[in-house]
């Protein structure tokens, strides 16, 4: 469980996060949704302490994180897996080496065990070829999937995904969404996913936070989000023609 208590964050006087309080639950996929520029990435980076918050606290299973020492941060971070919005693959290393990296750094596995684990992770994101290619030689969607494989390699206790399926085709998106949910439930971890993809919301939204202009605007799950009368959330959900048609169809029934 990750508790966020009254955090605020400004960049050069511009308030990006404004008194945000929320709880991310263990064993659930917690989604943070919101329009572009609403502060999702900034919130996630505050969670993992890449940004220091101006005010407020962040607690991991009751442990203070935002104010701990570098050494303590490093210790807790060994339980983190994170997928950056841009992938952040190590471009001097091949796909295979990228996924093997955390295992080589922090596990006591032998070479053969590492090999099995890397293959297992790459299989789960549907990447069975391309092991020996470098990040510059693979497509954007493939980079995302390598980043996901790398994030889950060490069986993290806390998984952070910043738009894990932006840039993926609808079919692969669903594979990735399901993978994230499976891992979350199978290992009972705390997962936070930033997204503005309504498919993902309905697919894996066990808990949903709607951010608007750096504030928590609404909270619910994949069922209640279709019925809420919150105007901004409605605008977000029914932005696409597809969802408007579905709503009309269901109202006729």
């Amino acid at each position: 469980m990750i508790e966020v208590q009254h955090i605020s964050k400004s960049f050069s006087g511009r308030k990006i996060l404004d008194d945000v309080s929320l709880v991310f639950e263990t064993g659930k996929t917690n989604l943070v949704i919101g329009g572009s520029g609403s502060g999702k990435t900034v919130l996630m980076k505050c969670l993992v302490a890449l940004y220091t918050v101006d005010e407020g606290d962040i607690l991991y299973d009751g442990r203070q994180f935002s104010k701990s020492t570098e050494e303590d941060k490093r210790l807790l971070r060994k339980d983190f897996g994170m997928v950056f919005q841009g992938g952040a693959l190590f471009d001097s290393q091949t796909v295979w080496e990228n996924v093997a990296f955390p295992l080589q750094m922090f596990s006591s596995m032998h070479e053969s065990e590492i090999k099995d684990r890397v293959e297992f992770c790459l299989n789960r994101v549907n990447l069975n070829a391309a092991y020996q290619l470098y990040p510059s030689q693979i497509s954007g969607g493939m980079k995302k999937r390598v980043a996901i494989a790398r994030a889950i390699a060490l069986n993290p206790k806390y998984l952070f995904c910043d738009e894990p399926n932006s840039g993926l085709d609808p079919k692969t998106s669903i594979v990735i969404d399901n993978l994230i949910q499976e891992i979350t439930e199978e290992y009972n971890i705390t997962t936070v996913v930033n997204t503005h993809d309504m498919n993902s919301v309905l697919e894996i939204g066990q808990k949903i936070i709607y951010l608007n202009k750096g504030q928590k605007w609404w909270e619910g799950d994949k069922n209640s989000i279709l019925e809420t009368d919150n105007k901004e959330v409605n605008d977000f959900v029914y932005a696409s023609e597809l969802f408007q048609r579905i709503r009309k169809a269901s109202q006729k029934l």
Partner: protein, 246 residues
């Protein structure tokens, strides 16, 4: 004020970098990789520059000796001392500041702006130590060898091109190279080299590691890395000379 702030940040950075590697196997792998990429790869340019530097020094000195009272072996002696004291340790280090400094700063800067450094931090890796320590130690290890090679080639260049130009004879030049040799000059040169290696790599790494923004800023930080490491190198050269030779 900004100067002191940057200086403080630099020393904190050095503190982060000089912490115990989290994984020795990785460290050594990276160390030898850097010895090759920062050191061995610079060998061709160093060899060419040293040969011609020695050549120019010898010919210049010979042409400037017009008095019949100065023996011709003084050409060898002057070439030797200039190479040992300044040309090899200082000029070659300056060239390395340009070559190695810009490559370190742009590599780290690129890793910073594409969030690769953040990705390392999230895994629990001490990115400063992981990325920078092997570079600094590799340069401190390999640069003295490069400088010694440069010294020999500089003197060889002086001899070869001096003969070709017909300004010295082998006998006089070699006699001059050995005449009144001060072994301490070599130690002095190597101490300078080690200090310069540390300054070049740590200063360029500093500018790359804290780059912010995009490709443009990476370019700017790479330029800054070269400018600052060159200036500070020359400043250190002055201080060390003052301290060790006076």
């Amino acid at each position: 004020m900004k100067v002191f702030e940057t200086l403080g940040k630099y020393f904190l950075f050095i503190g982060i970098v000089f912490s115990r590697p989290q994984q020795w196997k990785r460290f050594w792998k990276q160390f030898f990789f850097e010895v090759n990429s920062l050191g061995i790869n610079s060998l061709p340019i160093i060899m060419i520059i040293s040969l011609f530097m020695g050549a120019a020094l010898t010919i210049q000195t010979a042409y400037n000796i017009t008095s019949p009272f100065i023996p011709l072996y003084a050409v060898g002696l002057a070439t030797r001392d200039s190479i040992l004291l300044e040309f090899s340790p200082t000029i070659i280090s300056l060239i390395l500041a340009g070559k190695v400094g810009s490559s370190i700063a742009s590599e780290l800067g690129m890793m910073r702006v594409t969030e690769q450094i953040d990705a390392l931090e999230i895994m629990g890796v001490n990115s400063g130590s992981f990325l920078v320590l092997p570079k600094i130690l590799a340069a401190i290890f390999i640069n003295p060898f490069l400088i010694v090679i440069s010294m020999f080639l500089g003197m060889a260049g002086g001899l070869i091109f001096g003969l070709l130009a017909g300004v010295v004879s082998t006998h006089e030049f070699v006699y001059g190279l050995q005449y009144a040799f001060v072994p301490f000059y070599v130690s002095y040169a190597l101490i300078k080299t080690v200090v310069f290696a540390f300054l070049i790599t740590s200063i360029s790494a500093f500018f790359g590691y804290y780059a912010e923004g995009g490709a443009l800023e990476v370019g700017v930080s790479s330029t800054k890395a070269v400018v600052y490491s060159s200036i500070i190198l020359l400043l250190a050269n002055y201080l060390l000379t003052q301290m060790m030779l006076s």
